[in-house]
Symmetry: C2
Subunit: 194 residues, 2 copies
């Protein structure tokens, strides 16, 4: 029987190193050293270095998707969905900062096939956000002067979050989400003139 969480330990260590040094700059021997497992022994638990990257990015993708899907498909106003979606997004970033960083920053290092899998999930995630904005516009809740750029601004804010948000900082996910939502909603709401 496996010692408790050996694979998990390796994933954790790889995640930390990939997020700080980058995938290509991290060597199997780095992971070996940081986890206290000889590099050869690692291969009793993993198939390849790239498998680690895929598992991490896929975990990140699924975390984002599974947290946003029920919100989009649920009931409530578009504004509620936007706020809830932002909270969910920031929670994922806050709870898995390293995995989120790898997901956003290192997915290009994957092989073509696997990159396509992650790309598809990225696209799906973007389209979920689009659904919220569309719903808000169709319902008349949102009336942005420029829907395309309102969407761009929302996604930029979400996608850039991992660059500056620190879980150990003064603001919890809810506060960040709330203030972000408020700022975004100003631009989304019905205004005739600036």
């Amino acid at each position: 029987m496996p010692r408790r969480g050996r694979k998990e330990l390796i994933l954790e260590v790889a995640c930390r190193l990939f997020s700080t040094k980058g995938y290509h700059a991290t060597t199997i021997r780095d992971i070996s050293e940081a986890s206290g497992i000889l590099s050869g022994s690692l291969y009793a638990h993993i198939k390849s270095k790239e498998d680690l990257l895929f598992e991490i990015t896929n975990f990140g993708a699924e975390a984002f998707l599974s947290s946003l899907r029920p919100i989009v498909n649920g009931t409530g106003t578009a504004e509620e969905k936007l706020r809830q979606g932002l909270i969910a997004h920031i929670r994922v970033v806050a709870d898995n900062l390293e995995a989120a960083t790898v997901f956003f920053h290192e997915w290009k290092a994957l092989s073509e096939e696997r990159r396509a899998i992650i790309q598809k999930k990225r696209d799906e995630y973007e389209s979920l956000w689009e659904q919220i904005l569309e719903e808000g516009i169709n319902r008349g809740e949102f009336n942005p002067p420029d829907p395309k750029f309102a969407r761009l601004l929302t996604l930029s804010a979400a996608n850039w979050l991992y660059q500056w948000y620190r879980p150990e900082g003064p603001m919890g996910p809810e506060e960040v989400a709330d203030r972000l939502a408020t700022n975004l909603l100003v631009g989304l709401s019905n205004k005739k003139e600036v």
Copy 2:
């Protein structure tokens, strides 16, 4: 005498490869092949692979700084400065998309000392934007409900731009800047209620 633009050719090729594959995934032999110069001959023009990365990131940093500084120090309302600054920023991205991508994405691969140099310029660039927002607030032009997040939103939009903007696309820098500014200004302007 040097053949015309040999160094420039190498920088151009390196820039393209670094921006698409990443610094660590690009080998000297890749650059050699893509430029038609044998790998050994490259070293008649460069000192090291990392020098190439530094020259590119530093070029990017200087391009952003030198285009924003005169705007911040110039005359005009804060709104004008914001619009002009966005135009300048997008022009830099549009005119040097590959260098901008390397600047935003690969600067972490630099050695500690050089990373510090680039970090300093990044900080200066952020503070220039902050100056514009502060000036707008002090003058009473801007009255955002949440200055900290208004700033964050502005920087996120600017910093994420290189991820989606394509110079060959339908929108020129001016149009993008204008629409982005309009969306941001809604959130910056004096509003009591959403």
